[in-house]
Subunit: 200 residues, 2 copies
């Protein structure tokens, strides 16, 4: 491959990924077609079929491109020493993103593709969700070392306890995603459902 | 409508709902077509288009038919007085159902339709999930009245704290749904992530 061909391929690849993301502002994911993406990107549909096995794979790569655009640094959660305040901040930012009309349709589409496609779920877990989960565990580990979290706590379950309710409410539309709700999730996860004794 | 027509319509309706459910054992939901359902049910596809606006609506009615088949009583959670044991039992049963190869494909399909369709989500919330959520809140309310849960606890958040992580792990495939996991979710939700003082 000559340098020129490589550059043209990379430009086409980016055009396809951007087109897929943009089109989801206009059409439902179920109606998004490879033909439509090709037309918007100005490439032949054979180009898309050659590089991606499915429209779910295109969408996944579009998210990868976005996360690489963020600088390539591994994600990190804020650590001010105040776990509750840090979690409140992070969950509020998550909710802003989930409610953002530019991101919501593609994120819903990716989430539901993952629900039906174990291979895509594995790629997502490894390349997109994995580094983020590690950042969440790391923040909780630091709090645990500071004695702010229970010693025997399972950090995987702890991550699910904070983010699971929010993601589930968003995806299943069981209620509005407000900062009131996420703040309450943080407090309730930290304190637990049982009454706290006066000494704690 | 004569009694005979009504009876034939009801038989056709049930044939369509059963066919949709059964076909999901064989084809992906994305590939499930109204034509395919009509052929399996032995009805014309115009019959289906007349009664349902979409295949998501067919699927929803199939679940309604199943829940009506359960006897028409409102659902209730076990209440032995031991909240932790009751929740462990219920979540284990939930996991058995989510992992059941007969139920998993249609339940994934319904969940992802809900993610993309606010109207279907509203119907689901009212007719299927609503009564179940009320049963969950009721079990927690009874524990709260017995002093086993914190007095200021928001019961909506509490329900999400127990079921949200499990449903999210299942739908997003972030890990295996085992009874080990669900048991740990129950304990962690009840105790919270923070250390418990010696008095509680």
């Amino acid at each position: 491959m000559t340098p020129n061909t490589a550059r043209r391929n990379e430009a086409s690849r980016r055009a396809v990924l951007t087109a897929a993301f943009d089109l989801l502002q206009e059409v439902d994911y179920a109606k998004l077609s490879i033909e439509g993406i090709a037309a918007r990107a100005g490439v032949g549909k054979q180009t898309i079929y050659r590089w991606w096995p499915s429209k779910g794979a295109v969408l996944f790569d579009a998210f990868l491109m976005l996360s690489e655009g963020a600088g390539g640094e591994p994600p990190m959660l804020p650590d001010t020493g105040d776990l509750e305040a840090d979690l409140v901040l992070v969950l509020r930012a998550t909710v802003d993103e989930l409610n953002d009309p530019r991101f919501e349709p593609p994120m819903r589409a990716l989430s539901t593709e993952i629900a039906h496609d174990p291979e895509l779920a594995a790629a997502y877990a490894e390349r997109l969700d994995g580094p983020l989960r590690e950042a969440k565990r790391q923040r909780l580990r630091s709090a645990q070392q500071a004695g702010q979290l229970a010693q025997g706590l399972d950090l995987e379950v702890a991550v699910d306890m904070i983010w699971g309710p929010v993601l589930n409410r968003w995806l299943q539309r069981t209620g509005p995603l407000t900062t009131e709700y996420t703040d309450l999730v943080v407090t309730t996860a930290l304190n637990g459902l049982r009454p706290r004794g006066s000494s704690s």
